[in-house]
Amino acid sequence: MIRFIISKLGLLIPTFIGVTLIAFAFIRVLPGDPIELLAGERGVSPERHAELMALFGFDKPMWEQYIIFLGNILQGDLGQSFITKQPVLDEFLTRFPATVELALCAIIFATLIGLPAGIIAAVKRGSAFDHSLMGVSLAGYSMPIFWWGLLLIILFSSPDMLGWTPVSGRMSAMFWVEPTTGFMLIDTLFFSEEEGAFGSAIHHLILPTIVLGTIPMAVIARQTRSAMLEVLGEDYVRTARAKGLPVGRVIGLHALRNALITVVTVIGLQVGVLLAGAILTESIFSWPGIGKWMVDAIFRRDYFAVQGGLIMVAGIVMIVNLVVDFLYGLINPRILHTR
């Protein structure tokens, strides 16, 4: 087990250095002068341009900028956003709980619907339910998030249609909840005295959760179905059935546990998908998370915010994948002993 953990951790170091290099290079290869963008139509004089380049350290050779950047990361300093003049790490951390809250809700929603749906479809293979599930999940998987989000807003939030849910945001403008943990559900439930704030937070989560959870839900349902189909055809399942075990026990204990390995892998991989999807979902629903923040930073060529944000996101995805690797080990101990 220890060797397994060390080998996985060892792989993280080169991956992380690769990520820093990509993050550093990515924003710099994009065309667009950040100083000109800052100044707009008015522009800046060449002298002022040079002064500002020096102020932000852009006048140094690329390799030197990279070494400084790497050195700062090792000290936990991601630099200062040149738009807001605030430390990038602080900017990231204030917004991150909002993204995590939304992503967790989305993955819970996706799993709660996708997993049972996949199991039922596999058990009732070829049935009308199976066919409709496959059709719906294919549609869900192919749905452009932006379009899907706006469609749901118009359907559920517009006063001309159903008007059931709020249009966007994390909380009604009528409430003011000081962030304690940054997780709105926790803050409203335990740290706020405002009556109705918790309900408002849940209400605001409904549509973004559905929109962000749709693709993972489709993927989980399809993967569960195929993994279950494979396992249900195995000899030991037939044996279990032949022994006269109840259907629920055969499916729930014997088949599902083995099928879960694939499903857990898929759920783990969805973390990357969720963070990517969060960029669009957060933009549509004015959700104050890191996705929207990163988009703004890219458009404004805020080099430090973009590279800092990319590193944080990549680091998180790497850690989640590592945790998923360990989970495999727990579900299927044979993995720990393979080289």
């Binding site: 800052l38 102020l55 738009i83 939030s157 335990f190 009556e195 408002s200 004015s286």
Partner: protein, 530 residues
């Protein structure tokens, strides 16, 4: 907790609609983005000014709401010396600053606050100069470091600005957002506490609203300043609900989740106009959209060629197709809402045959050029690509072959400044201070060649008029000079002036007394809700 869960459902429903008048009067503004910070002197974006200078702070002088007219604010009166080099301001007495958790003011506003607010920006040795990144781009862009020689506190309620040269637009400059007055006492206290940057994040001003809280990218909450010197605002609470997507803003406005929204999608205007709950306000913008030739490159160095090309452009067709009628044909480089606008100027009327003849007379045939189309939507040009295509088609009719080029926005701004640039550039401008100098000198002056003068046009007779007007304090004489400058401009035609756009502002019907700000901002003092 059980109680909270029980009330959750009811609360969620209740919170959905904002019923005006049920509690304290609350106005929700669906703002388009997050402010960069809360000290307007550090930033240049209108979004930041909306959340800071326009609600929280005052300036010495201010624009009367909804106009470009300058009125006294923190300065009750001012005098200009006969040589135009000294501006002496008499300050208002009894003006109270806001307070917050970290600071309670011990004194009223006075001259120290004015000196602090300007010295911080201009004096590199000031202890606050380098705080929060230390770049003051608007102060720089308005040439304040060269212009202001000194700011002297004469007594507690008198401040004198000493200039290096006469500058007639000085008063208008002081009404701009970067000239907001911050509290020197708060700054001192935060410096002593070792957290000077708090001054820029948790603002203390004298304005009609005090900032109560900010949740990044989500909400900003303001409360009416009870002791505001001009009287408490009619609304009690002002909330900015940050909503970047225009379609979502519109849905929120319809659902009553907000009362005022900026920057509607042009495609939604018709539906907004017919919505019984929405009042679609509109006003001519303080802007101009233009096509700038490179007057340093042949054959565009010949005014006759430029005029011929101008005559070939069907501006009315552009107005219909690009602005959907929500604009006005531009004949001058300044919008009609600015004083000194010369209505006597005659535009180059659309006449393809005459244009072709003029080109032939100038000895130009088989001309090939480029039209630069901006990659972004701007208030003065909602669709540059479409505009470029229409001009391309118009020019094709007189035998001019134009290729449309575009670059990423930052790159576009940079490359279009090059003096050896190939082709004509589509661009525009929204005024900062309502002074003609802010258009004519900034966009067409000799000093701006290689910079914001995209036509690279340095024409001495024009520049002399503008420079003379800049140092003349008599407004009637200034008006005459600017009117003459506009005639010279038209005759020389360094640009094709295309349009002045109309600005739309959808507000809910229960909102009363909202006025569209000609500078594109949002001022909520004076606005009421039924």
């Amino acid at each position: 907790m059980k109680k909270k869960l029980l009330t959750a459902v009811a609360g969620a429903g209740m919170a959905l609609a904002l019923s005006a008048g049920a509690q304290a009067k609350t106005l929700v503004f669906c703002s388009e983005g997050s402010p960069e910070g809360f000290n307007p002197s550090l930033f240049t974006a209108g979004t930041t000014f909306d959340a800071s200078s326009r609600q929280v702070y005052n300036k010495l002088v201010e624009f009367e709401r909804g106009t470009t007219k300058i009125t006294p604010a923190l300065a009750e009166s001012w005098e200009v010396s006969s040589d135009g080099l000294e501006y002496t301001f008499k300050l208002r007495k009894g003006v109270k600053f806001h307070s917050n958790k970290a600071f309670t003011p011990s004194r009223d506003f006075n001259a120290d606050d004015v000196v602090y607010s300007f010295k911080r920006q201009g004096d590199e040795s000031h202890p606050y100069h380098k705080v929060s990144g230390g770049s003051y781009e608007y102060f720089q862009a308005m040439s304040m470091p060269d212009l202001i020689k000194d700011i002297v506190k004469v007594d507690d309620y008198t401040v004198k600005f000493v200039l290096t040269r006469p500058e007639a637009p000085m008063i208008a400059n002081l009404a701009m957002d970067f000239a907001s007055i911050l509290s020197a006492e708060y700054a001192d206290k935060m410096m002593d506490a070792g957290s000077p940057e708090k001054v820029d994040l948790e603002p203390i001003g004298t304005g009609p609203f005090k900032m109560v809280g900010y949740q990044k990218d989500a909400m900003i909450r303001f409360a009416a300043h009870e002791d505001y010197w001009a009287g408490k605002a009619p609304i009690d609470r002002l909330i900015f609900s940050i909503t970047p997507d225009a379609s979502v803003r519109y849905q929120k406005l319809k659902a009553g989740e907000c009362h005022v929204m900026p920057y509607p999608n042009p495609a939604d205007l018709e539906a907004m106009d017919s919505d019984p709950n929405i009042n679609l306000m509109q006003q001519e913008g303080l802007n101009v959209g233009y096509l700038a030739y490179n007057t340093k490159m042949a054959p565009f160095d010949n005014p006759k060629v430029r005029k011929a090309l101008n005559k070939a452009i069907n501006k009315n067709a552009i107005l219909d197709a690009v602005f959907q009628g929500a604009g006005k044909v531009a004949k001058n480089p300044i919008p009609p809402t600015i004083w000194s606008y010369n209505n006597a100027t005659e535009d180059d009327s659309y006449d393809a045959a005459a244009a072709q003849k003029m080109l032939e007379e100038a000895g130009v045939s088989g001309l090939k050029t480029k039209i630069w189309a901006m990659p972004v939507q701007r208030p003065y040009n909602p669709n540059a690509r479409r505009m470029a295509e229409l001009i391309q088609a118009d020019w094709a009719k007189i035998g001019v072959e134009a290729e449309i080029v575009s670059y990423e926005w930052g790159e576009y701004l940079k490359r279009s400044k090059a003096e050896d640039r190939d082709g004509a550039v589509l661009l525009g401008w929204t005024g900062d201070n309502g002074d003609p100098d802010n258009f004519l000198a900034v966009l067409l002056g000799c000093d701006a060649v290689g910079g914001s003068n995209r036509a690279q046009w340095c024409h001495k007779p024009f520049d002399d008029l503008v420079q003379k007007a800049k140092v003349t304090s008599d407004s009637a004489e200034r008006t005459k000079l600017y009117e003459e400058a506009q005639l010279v401009f038209k005759e020389q035609a360094p640009w094709a002036t295309i349009a002045h756009s109309v600005v739309f502002k959808p507000v809910r019907k229960e909102v009363k007394n909202f006025k569209i700000d000609p500078f594109g901002g949002h001022v909520f003092y004076g606005v009421d809700i039924e």
